[in-house]
């Protein structure tokens, strides 16, 4: 259970007191505000604040005085045009602030997205909680045999049991020792900034993360992708659900042009034209490497890997 009764009460209180504002309000997002969406075994994502809506994208693209056209359909067409032609600056005019609780090894991937603002819980200053990510059995995957950077089959039987046992026991022991080293009963107590080094990468941390919509889409494209590590993908998917309710037109364009779209190389386009003209093209006659051809076939056959 990620949140304590106190924390839930704080969230309830935050949600109980609407105030009038003149700013753009996105009703779909108000419904999400402050609520914690559970992710993994102890993690969550919750929206803490947001700026703008679909109309704000249009307004900025037009550098206009008021809230833009009143016809949502025109706005949506413009938003699709902007997305299709990589006019990214209007999307930067929306901003979102999230509070995320996540394992450290996920946080280390996440932080590589540099164009964002972050305040992380400080383990120099404070003591981390005894909370560790232990994968559910169905996510305990073997190393992929074809992709050095991916997962294969789910582990079974004794091997699975052994892995779970190890992860649990090592986490628990490391945390026991962390507490012992910090303890000051009759002794000095090791500095927090040192003691934390005994905690494994599945310990949970948390942060406030603020990002504009353009950079959030970039994050989602990479992290909600089928090739992303499962443990970060579930966060991306939880965020995507919120974004869909926040800026439905922009999210629709993102889904069509980015998540559902593909990139073809010059060679790929050339092959495609030959195929549409009736020619049979093979890897040998394509000018592509085997890897490229396999990916190209995935695109045209719908079995994208």
């Amino acid at each position: 259970m990620p949140l304590s009764p106190d924390q839930l009460a704080e969230i309830e209180e935050s949600r109980s007191n609407p105030q009038p504002t003149l700013r753009a309000v996105a009703p779909g997002m108000e419904a999400h505000l402050y609520k914690a969406v559970p992710v993994l075994d102890h993690g969550f994502v919750r929206v803490v604040d947001y700026m703008g809506d679909d109309a704000a994208i249009v307004q900025a693209a037009r550098v206009s005085y008021g809230a833009g056209t009143k016809k949502a359909r025109d706005d949506s067409g413009l938003i699709r045009y902007l997305m299709r032609h990589w006019h990214s600056t209007p999307f930067e005019m929306c901003e979102i602030k999230l509070h995320v609780k996540l394992p450290v090894f996920v946080a280390r991937q996440w932080i590589r997205h540099r164009t964002a603002n972050v305040n992380e819980y400080s383990a120099r200053y404070s003591i981390l909680d005894r909370e560790f990510y232990i994968p559910a059995p169905e996510h305990l995957a073997a190393q992929s045999k074809v992709n050095n950077q991916g997962r294969g089959e789910v582990l079974q039987g004794n091997e699975a049991a052994r892995v779970l046992e190890v992860l649990k026991a090592d986490s628990a022991r490391c945390y026991d020792h962390y507490e012992e080293m910090l303890s000051q009963e009759g002794q000095e107590g090791l500095a927090r900034e040192l003691a934390r080094m005994n905690l494994p990468a599945n310990v949970y941390t948390q942060w406030y993360w603020k990002v504009d919509l353009h950079n959030l889409f970039h994050f989602l494209r990479l992290r909600a992708d089928a090739h992303a590590q499962y443990e970060i993908r579930v966060y991306a998917e939880a965020i995507a659900e919120m974004v869909k309710d926040w800026v439905p037109a922009a999210y629709g364009a993102f889904e069509d042009y980015r998540m559902g779209g593909v990139n073809l190389s010059g060679k790929g386009v050339e092959c495609l034209r030959r195929m549409l003209a009736g020619e049979e093209v093979t890897q040998e006659t394509s000018g592509m490497s085997k890897g490229e051809w396999r990916e190209f076939e995935g695109v045209i056959n719908g079995s994208q890997t």
Copy 2:
């Protein structure tokens, strides 16, 4: 008069319709929303949106679940501590979006602040208005004789009159020709992306500019400074007035530690200690260059230049 009746009506309409939100609301900022503060002869600044308030800074610094302590005094003390010790990330958790109308030569200085989001009115796509910055007589300054990058005395008499006449006449003529070149009466009309090159740098442009509070403070420190060019300083000052009403505690800390604060070099600190110990220190015995010593004297005598 910077705004047309239509634009004023749009602003009025935007201000007439408060909606409930669960987000943090800064009453001081709500009062500013959408209103255009006139700057220079045709320019303005207006807040179009904002995210966060003083409490949001504290909340992020603590990575907390609710809205932080209820005691404004504790929050203010923490904010001062964060500012004093250059803990900048909590200030990045507030964001502001401005609509600014400004001369192109000011825009060129402004845009050098890279950590911000911008949508500028496109002169490739649209036609610029006939609006040019013509300095008020009291701002028609001569080149400084001591500072290659500054202003000296205000021009007088014939010279001032001549300068004003030139600026007005050249602006008008360039704009007439811009319109003529664009005109399609019986001819093709030059492409907008080319015709714009005939417009001088005092023509007005406008943009949406979005920035976080930390980077905004950096902008204000440099551009509201006495050494900044007058024409950008007035924009910075107008923005500073809004920020003061938005995040009073953060702005107070900024004023004390940044705007009102000074940097002393290692040599400067050394001299200071000698002076406090009763020694008479001169430029010759200070180890500083003449320029450094002059600036140091400015700090300790209150005649900062």
Copy 3:
């Protein structure tokens, strides 16, 4: 002629004195160093420094100790893989520094690429030269009738002559007045930071611009594109020629996957599969808007607009 004899002598001197270094050296780039490639009527681009080469991309991707594999073919395959899969960080390990002379209206587009370092010639501090961009007759294009943001036919006859005359006369007059206002013969002389506002946007400025290879590729993709304004495209093309000699493998991958590649939306991929399966698809049955369909046809027919 963009460079004075003095400047050419300085460049000659810089090129006359090779020194030993242990760093990665790209012979193709050494041949370009310091030389000014003329662009437009008074502009240029010249490489002032560079860091890294193709092998440096591979070395960083592998976080290896030495210079990577010695087989250029393996390196090239890895570089293509990185480019195809948007692994952008290894490309950020190469850096280039350029000295560019360019019209102000081009500089205003260019500076929107924020992830770069810039030092521009200061017109607050110094006096700009009497150099203005006047388009060659074959680039004097009319406004496009189909694209609000583009060019149509080349202007002819009297209209072309009239436009050229206006651009030349206004530039000359504005510069004369700029000089007059600055002049101190018997008067004060207007501050440089003010006088510059009388100069039109076709006046030349110059800057040092430093950027990593990933962000440079992004710049080139947008600015060497057929839809970019001609006056910035010629700079992008001049830079592309240098990059090709600097990092041939990376540039090859960029050409195939970015410049020559296309993005297809989810709808586009769906239509493609139907067409490859023998179905006749029209705009009406595609689910695309007219604009999208036109662009899609451009991709599959090779008449990309």
Copy 4:
């Protein structure tokens, strides 16, 4: 011993083959190139590449064609002026690329400096080595009693022994289990991207890190500071030694104005003036909080804390 004989041989080879270049060469930095400076028990820093030197800063500040003035003294004065007045863009014209081996908990602090390029060794793709940071006994500090974010006395006797024993045993056990989980002898082997979560934060990772000189100075100011955690400070100090040899004039200015300099608040300056005028000022009459006054006293008494 951080480097294997193979790695040392690779480094030797890289150093054995100087090549001619026309670029700016910094002899002081050439002497450092590729060599690994040991840091902590298994870490190191080594320069892999650099761009520019002191003259390159001057050249960019002047947007000049050649290598700037030949008088090093003028250059040094200009560099000091630029540093004193926060003209940061010329310093961005120098760039450095480092290869760093460091514990994960240090890497997590380091990565918060966002304006840099990073390629980290991937534990999704590869297997980490059995190398853990175990503090030397003299760095085994207790939690500070006055500063929640700092260290106090060094641990003694049994407590110290116990802590070392725990850190060593937990690291070893976690790594044993990491290897076991990855092992494929008769079983599938857990995916690397999952197995890594069992490794504690004192395990070593490595990365290529590339940053411009301005942002490097910012990093050094925060991380070579007495308040920084010891384990990152030693890296900052090792880098500072290299920078001193690379750009001696810029480093000198940095030392005087940043590392050795102080910031005083408006209140602090006011107190100082009163004290220089002979008044006795106490915390009560200063208008400062106790914390501020303590820091202010540190500045003027030279006992900065």
